[in-house]
C-alpha cells in the first residue's frame, strides 16, 4: 500500500500493466517527453521508450484508428485522449469500429483497446475542458465504461480495463486528480467490473454517484445525517456493465433514490438508473426518483459553479425526496 493521488494511481496502473505485458503500449498527444498534460504518463517514456509511449500527431481519428489496428494485430494499446471534449474526431472509429469489431466479425476480431480520458468540470475549463458525456458511450453497445472515484479504484479499474478482452472507455475525473489521495495496493491490483462500491450505508434514501460526484454526495450525507436523514451512497464504478443488483437492492432497502451526475440531464446516465428502478424496484419505491445533474445547457465558464451539482443541491433533492413520502 502506498498513499498517492488519483492521477498518480493512474500512472502506477499504466506502469504496472506495461511491466506485466510487453504488448501493452500507450499512444496519444503529448504523453511522451512531456508526460501528458496532466502528468498521467510521467516517467513512462523514459522507462519504456518511444516505441511503447508514442507521441502522435494531433489527430484523435489517427490515435483511435491506429490503436484499433494494433489491437486487431494482438497488442493491448492504451490511447489517451487529452480531454474527453476532444474525443469526437475519433467518434466514428469508436462507435462504428471499436464497439462493433467483435460483433461484426462473428467473434473473429476482438478489439481490446482502452481509451483513457480526463473528464468533467470543476477546473474552470469552460465549454471544452469540462464535459461529461459518458452517456454517449454507455448507449453504444460493445463498449464498457469505467469511472473511478478513488486512487485505489483508479489503479484497480485501469488494470482490469487494460486486460479486459473488450474495449473500455476509462474516464478519469480530472477535478479530483490531485485533490483526492488514498492508499493504493502495490503490484497487480485489480478491481472487477460490474461491482458497485458501497460508500456508506443508510436507511432512508439511496444516492447513486460516480467519479467526482461521490465527494459532494458524501458531504451532503454528512449534512443530512445532522437532520436525521440516513443516506446510503453507492459509487457505481462501472456504468457498463452496471451493478444492477446492488442498485436495485439498495432501493429495495431505502425506498428512495437520488441520482447525481455532472452530465446534462436529458438522456444522461441518471435517466437509465431511474428507468431501471422504475422497472425493477417499482414496488419498493416510496417517492419520486430525483436527479441532480448538470443542466441542459453547454458547459459554462464563468458560471461553472452554478452549473455543477454540489452538496447543497444534493441535500435539497434528498430532503424533497424524503418529504415526498
Amino acid at each position: 500500500m502506498t498513499e498517492m493521488t488519483l492521477v498518480q494511481a493512474v500512472n502506477r496502473g499504466l506502469e504496472e500493466a506495461m511491466r506485466q505485458d510487453p504488448d501493452v503500449l500507450l499512444l496519444g498527444e503529448d504523453i511522451g517527453v512531456n508526460g501528458g498534460v496532466f502528468r498521467a504518463t510521467e516517467g513512462l517514456f523514459k522507462q519504456f521508450g518511444a516505441d511503447r509511449v508514442i507521441d502522435t500527431p494531433l489527430s484523435e481519428t489517427g490515435i483511435v484508428g491506429t490503436a484499433i489496428g494494433m489491437a486487431l494485430y494482438g497488442l493491448k494499446p492504451v490511447a489517451e485522449i487529452q480531454f474527453l471534449d476532444f474525443i469526437y474526431p475519433a467518434f466514428d472509429q469508436i462507435v462504428s469500429e471499436l464497439a462493433k469489431f467483435r460483433y461484426r466479425s462473428g467473434g473473429q476480431y476482438p478489439c481490446p483497446v482502452t481509451i483513457r480520458a480526463p473528464y468533467g468540470g470543476g477546473i474552470k475549463g469552460g465549454l471544452y475542458h469540462s464535459q461529461s458525456t459518458e452517456a454517449y458511450f454507455c448507449h453504444t453497445a460493445g463498449l464498457k465504461v469505467a469511472i473511478p472515484s478513488t486512487p485505489a479504484d483508479a489503479k484497480g479499474l485501469l488494470l482490469t480495463a487494460i486486460h479486459d478482452p473488450d474495449p473500455v472507455i476509462f474516464l478519469e475525473p480530472k477535478r479530483i486528480y490531485r485533490s483526492v489521495t488514498g492508499e493504493v495496493p502495490d503490484g497487480d491490483h485489480r478491481v472487477p467490473f460490474g461491482r458497485a462500491r458501497l460508500v456508506r450505508e443508510g436507511d432512508d434514501v439511496s444516492v447513486f454517484a460516480y467519479g467526482a460526484m461521490v465527494a459532494p454526495a458524501t458531504e451532503a450525507a454528512d449534512a443530512l445525517a445532522a437532520e436525521g436523514i440516513s443516506t446510503e451512497i453507492v459509487d457505481l464504478r462501472t456504468l457498463v456493465p452496471l451493478d444492477e443488483e446492488a442498485v436495485v437492492a439498495s432501493v429495495e432497502k431505502t425506498g428512495r433514490a437520488v441520482v447525481v451526475h455532472e452530465a446534462a440531464r436529458t438522456c444522461g446516465f441518471g435517466a437509465e438508473l431511474s428507468a431501471i428502478l422504475a422497472e425493477k424496484a417499482f414496488f419498493s419505491l416510496k417517492a419520486p426518483i430525483a436527479r441532480v445533474t448538470g443542466y441542459d445547457t453547454p458547459f459554462p465558464y464563468a458560471l461553472e459553479n452554478a452549473y455543477l451539482p454540489n452538496p447543497e443541491k444534493i441535500v435539497h433533492a434528498v430532503r424533497a425526496t424524503v418529504k415526498a413520502a
Binding site: 491506429t66 484499433i68 460490474g194
Partner: protein
C-alpha cells in the same frame, strides 16, 4: 498469369450471378466489382500470405485470391449459419481471420488508419510483413485517409494504400471529389511516394504492388498506389447509374476491360487457346452456381446468437435481455 486470369473470370462470373440473384430476391444486396478485377487480383497476388489485408466492400476478388472458397463467399452473401461472421453484416463485407483479411465495415475510409495501426504493431513485433488498405476514390476525402496517411508518413509504417480509382463515388465523378491532378500525388502531403497506374493492366499492378511491398518490408515506409479503373456496373444493386452517367462513357470504359485485355495478352503469348478460355468460363459458372446453391441450402443463424460477441462474456444485462428474448418477452430483462 493464367491463374490470375482464372481468378478474374471467377470474380466476373460471381458478379453477374449475384446481380441476377439480387433481382430474384435471393440475396439482399450486392456491390459489383466488374472492371476492377485486374487491380484486385494483381494486388492480392503480389502480397504475401502473412501480410494483413484491410478491404472495403468491393474486394471479392481479393478474397478469392487469398484462398477463400467460393462457398464461404456465398455464405457471407447469404448471411447463413456457416458465415464465419455469423450473418452479422450486409452482403459484400468479407473478412476471414485465418487469411488475415480483416472484416470490413460500411463507413468509408475507417480501415485506412487501422491498417496503419496494424503496421505499427508489426513494426513493434519486428514481423517482416506489410499491411494493405483498399479504398476508392471517394475515400480519399475521408478523415481516415488524412489521418492514416499522415501517421504512416510520421511513423514510416510498412503500409500500402491501394486506391482503386473507379472514377465514381456513387454519383460523384472523380473530378468533383477533389481538385488534385491525380489521387496518387496526395502522398506528397505526407512525405512518401505515390504511384499512378493503369489498373486494367494486371502486370503493372502486380509489379507496382510488389515493389511497394518490398519497400515496406525493407523498412522504407509506405506507398500510395492509385490504380485507375472504371466501375462498369452500378454502385450497388440499390443504384441506378443511368441517372448520372452516359452509356457512351461506360461503353468506352468497357473497351479497356481488364479481363479481355489479359485474355488477349495470354492468347498472344500462346498460353490461352480459345477452347481453354471457354473451359475457364464454364468451370467458373459451374463452381459459382454450386457454391451459391450450397449456401442457399444452409440453415439460417440461431436467433439466440444475436446476443453473442458483443463482448467475450455476456454482461448480466445482456444475459437478461437474452433470457427475455428466449422467453418471448421481447426487449430487455424479462417481464416488467
Amino acid at each position: 498469369m493464367l491463374d490470375a486470369y482464372r481468378w478474374m473470370v471467377v470474380a466476373r462470373v460471381t458478379d453477374e450471378r449475384c446481380l441476377s440473384l439480387q433481382r430474384q430476391g435471393r440475396i439482399g444486396f450486392y456491390a459489383p466489382l466488374a472492371g476492377q478485377e485486374a487491380a484486385q487480383v494483381g494486388t492480392a497476388l503480389a502480397m504475401h500470405a502473412e501480410d494483413w489485408f484491410f478491404p472495403a466492400y468491393r474486394e471479392l476478388a481479393v478474397a478469392l485470391v487469398r484462398g477463400i472458397p467460393l462457398r464461404s463467399i456465398f455464405d457471407q452473401l447469404v448471411g447463413n449459419s456457416q458465415d464465419v461472421s455469423k450473418g452479422r453484416q450486409m452482403p459484400n463485407h468479407f473478412g476471414f481471420r485465418d487469411k488475415n483479411i480483416v472484416v470490413p465495415s460500411s463507413p468509408i475510409g475507417t480501415q485506412i488508419t487501422q491498417a496503419v495501426g496494424a503496421a505499427m504493431a508489426a513494426q513493434r513485433r519486428r514481423d517482416p510483413i506489410a499491411t494493405i488498405a483498399f479504398f476508392g476514390d471517394g475515400a480519399t476525402s475521408s478523415n481516415d485517409f488524412h489521418a492514416g496517411l499522415n501517421f504512416a508518413g510520421v511513423f514510416g509504417t510498412p503500409t500500402i494504400f491501394l486506391c482503386q480509382n473507379n472514377q465514381w463515388a456513387i454519383s460523384l465523378p472523380r473530378e468533383k471529389q477533389t481538385r488534385s491532378a491525380t489521387l496518387a500525388e496526395k502522398s506528397n502531403a505526407y512525405g512518401f511516394p505515390g504511384v499512378v497506374l493503369d489498373g486494367n493492366d494486371l502486370n503493372a499492378v502486380y509489379r507496382a504492388v510488389g515493389e511497394a511491398r518490398a519497400r515496406a518490408v525493407r523498412g522504407e515506409g509506405p506507398t500510395l498506389i492509385e490504380a485507375q479503373v472504371y466501375r462498369f456496373g452500378p454502385h450497388s444493386t440499390s443504384d441506378d447509374p443511368h441517372r448520372y452517367r452516359s452509356d457512351a462513357e461506360v461503353a468506352a470504359a468497357r473497351e479497356r476491360d481488364p479481363i479481355q485485355r489479359l485474355a488477349r495478352e495470354l492468347a498472344e503469348a500462346g498460353v490461352l487457346e480459345a477452347s481453354a478460355d471457354k473451359a475457364i468460363w464454364e468451370t467458373a459458372r459451374a463452381e459459382v452456381a454450386r457454391a451459391f446453391e450450397a449456401a442457399e441450402g444452409t440453415p439460417t443463424v440461431d436467433p439466440l446468437s444475436l446476443f453473442d460477441d458483443v463482448f467475450e462474456t455476456r454482461t448480466p444485462q445482456l444475459e437478461a435481455q437474452r433470457s427475455g428474448f428466449a422467453a418471448g418477452a421481447g426487449s430487455g430483462g424479462g417481464a416488467p
